[in-house]
Symmetry: C2
Subunit: 494 residues, 2 copies
């Protein structure tokens, strides 16, 4: 009975409603204090969780709870069991993959969305969610310096957006009727080809798998010394494929590749796409956000000619996961690729095309109210504040790049167009590649094991390359100083 | 300056960090009070937003804010501008589509996830998120009475899950190498066919469009008088298709169809799948959750033989959107369909298969920490509490069905296996179908215009059918009583 005493009224065995208002209020305040304390101390946890596989699983009961449990116990278990297994993307020492921040105003937006719990599949199922999505994405378009009109919707990830873009690109091929008739067993449908650089994200290849275009349908184009797509090679590839009977249908350019953050020459790629009638999709998931800083607006040069473009505010615009923006100049084609309206979703507004129903622009019918957090982030920081933060991250990235290039023991392996630095230790006299790989991997793992920082790697020209990706609002110059010291000490010590 | 006075320190023009801790705490508490008050009064808003298309858009500035704005103003605008455009899925009067509830413990889970902001793409990018997802889904499996082992991952929507399931089904076709070589321009790849009932969800057809199987690749099977798939017809269709050179590869059965919540005869469909070597995917997005109530466990009969199965806790297990569970008995095939590991995502744990990396089971690389809210919901209510709530909704649904069938002026148009009632007004003497359609549409629109309730419709046997879908924890017997009174009064008045 002691245990049951702390249960809420809504947990009594004859109760059928939700948690009581005052209990929700009490635990909500408790949660907010926990969140505020956590965010203030995010740097005090080991960045990369130090637990072993299975530790969390073993800490939890094998069987589900039959009776209700007290919220105090559940929240205590978050501290006791869950927190040791968290890798702290909020830490100022998080430099792996891409550093991100779910900022304060963004988290507040998530809280409100969670309470409203609307499904924005149709305009009428929450007009505010649909219209705010349009307004917020038009604001973002302006912040990025892109011309109007540009239709936008928010997806969970860039992976989804790229899949949708390539589905639309396939739909845009005239005369094949793939949506209706499919691709197989039809002599009139040739093998389809799309193009992206060797440095494009894995989701570009995954999209082709799902589409039935296959991995062979993606032709990977080589890059120049700065890891940017070689446009002459792209054009040669298209010509070769045409001669061999392939049907080219799309090119994916990347603004900020995942390994090196290189920026493909979009204006030249757009020329090629125009010449051959190919759909141009730009994956600006990481790099696109930088255009909010006027001095970085060049990164989107040529993107005004893209058929579809992705920018991820959950990567570098301080918006909590998930918020991936999908822009298109051809919403009619995207809609033609996806729209399918069963009777149970018909309604008066959608009948006359007066309003968009956002379910029509992809596969996911259900949609969270994701624009609220983005809108709150844009208002709270303002374009000025967002630009200042992007600018600061780039300044820090350039500083690290400078330290690397000035050191006799380290070398940059790629240029640093944004705030992500690709480098490796290369002490004088060590020129065996296998030895260098082992050395750099040891350094990275040792740094990660300290719990103070989290770095990840890539391979460039076959070389094991450490990445320092700066994107967290808590990261200061002192943090990158400490990181650089630690890396140097590690090299000296090993 | 007056305006700037209420800005936080983090909003000063030289600031580069996140919102300050104490500001976040202050606004967080304010948000929680707002949320608690909102949830307590969710029934006092018009359920279906009463605004006209464009109203929200016009209430917001055309241009993005350049300077930071005070959080007080932003939150005030949520009340002033956003709230009138919300359709209140939280209202006890919400009976459209499927009634849902983002319950208190679930919202608390969303809050914590929002603050942690981890991306659970790899085990190491947050071990707790990956392992809790495995534990929570194994708990849910047990609550649903499904046998072990069953691998589970959480997706945004059932639409995504169905796309993933059919991608895996295609991958399971032996000898075609579609993942590598694609489907078009290859004489050895026949036209592919999959099957679902006429009542299956639109996402089943959408998946085929994306996969390049095409709308023609989905053969829709007729239903019996209870809107359940006609298995004899399914078998005949497969035989016909085989004879005509199609390659059947999958059947999608539905447990709780969207229009009528009918339950396909899964055991018989499983027999057919076994006989013909077809992948069996079960869409239990709505109905699956009911199995948490022991008296409803029959709804998942045969699903232990499904290759893939979807159950949506964000539909009827009181978990905020989005949380769609994807189960599979064949995780190796799903992984073989999707896994693609670029160098920058390789790591020591994934190399030895010691742990799952959840990015390997679908297209979305990034993943929110969605299991936290589900785990909190399961613990807070317990299986007992969840079952009691499902049971109560079904009781209310049966009550409405009884009132309808006892009324001389109304008739049931489909059986009521769960808590969703399909009916129409059919007063004595009115037998013209066009007249009945106009009458029922008028009744529905009039009810929705009151702001007290929100109903949606479907068409069954060509008849305009009103649906009352009960699934909100705030809905009481009094609410459905009031609704039934209003519907009767509307009929009497028109």
């Amino acid at each position: 009975m002691e245990e049951r005493a702390s249960l809420d009224i809504a947990q009594q065995s004859d109760a059928t409603g939700d948690m009581e208002t005052e209990a929700f209020r009490r635990y909500g305040h408790q949660a907010v204090d926990w969140m505020a304390d956590y965010l203030a101390n995010a740097g005090s946890y080991p960045v990369l969780s130090q637990i072993a596989p299975g530790d969390i699983r073993r800490s939890l009961p094998d069987q589900p709870p039959f009776r209700p449990e007290a919220m105090e116990e559940i929240l205590a278990d978050v501290d006791r069991i869950i927190m040791p297994g968290i890798t702290h993307w909020n830490s100022p020492g998080f430099f792996a993959y891409f550093g991100i921040t779910g900022s304060g105003p963004g988290i507040l937006g998530e809280m409100l969305s969670g309470a409203l719990n609307v499904n924005a599949m149709l305009w009428r199922t929450s007009p505010a969610a649909t219209e705010l999505e349009q307004v917020a994405l038009d604001w973002l378009r302006q912040m990025l310096g892109l011309p109007s009109p540009l239709f936008g919707v928010i997806n969970d990830t860039a992976s989804s957006g790229t899949l949708y873009a390539l589905t639309a690109a396939r739909e845009a091929i005239p005369g094949l009727h793939i949506r209706q008739q499919g691709m197989s067993g039809r002599a009139e449908v040739p093998r389809l080809r799309y193009y992206a650089s060797q440095e494009a994200h894995s989701s570009v290849e995954k999209a082709g798998i799902v589409l039935g275009v296959g991995q062979d349908g993606l032709r990977k184009i080589g890059v120049d010394n700065s890891f940017r797509m070689d446009v002459a090679q792209l054009e040669r590839a298209i010509e070769e494929d045409l001669a061999a009977g392939w049907r080219p249908f799309a090119v994916v350019a990347t603004v900020g590749t995942t390994s090196t953050t290189s920026v493909d020459p979009v204006p030249h790629i757009a020329d090629v796409c125009e010449r051959y009638g190919l759909w141009l999709h730009v994956d600006g998931a990481y790099g696109g956000s930088a255009a909010v800083d006027p001095s970085m607006r060049w990164v989107l040069d040529g993107c005004e000619r893209a058929d579809t473009l992705i920018v991820n505010p959950h990567k570098w615009l301080f918006t909590p996961i998930d918020c991936s923006v999908f822009y298109t100049r051809k919403p009619d084609i995207v809609k033609a690729a996806f729209s399918l309206i069963p009777e149970y979703l018909r309604n008066t507004e959608s009948a006359d095309d007066a309003v968009p129903n956002l379910m029509d622009y992809g596969t996911s019918l259900g949609r969270r109210f994701r624009s609220l957090k983005l809108w709150m982030v844009m208002r709270y920081f303002g374009q000025e504040g967002l630009a200042a933060r992007i600018h600061e991250h780039i300044r820090l990235g350039q500083l690290v790049a400078q330290w690397v290039s000035e050191s006799p023991d380290f070398e940059l392996v790629a240029p640093t167009p944004f705030s992500t630095v690709c480098f490796r230790a290369h002490p004088r006299g060590v020129d065996n590649e296998a030895q260098l790989e082992a050395l750099n991997e040891r350094i990275m793992n040792a740094i990660n094991a300290t719990g103070c920082f989290f770095l990840s790697h890539t391979k460039l020209h076959g070389m094991f390359t450490i990445r320092i990706a700066i994107g967290n609002l808590r990261t200061t110059e002192q943090d990158i100083h400490d990181l650089w010291e630690a890396i140097q000490a590690e090299l000296a010590g090993v």
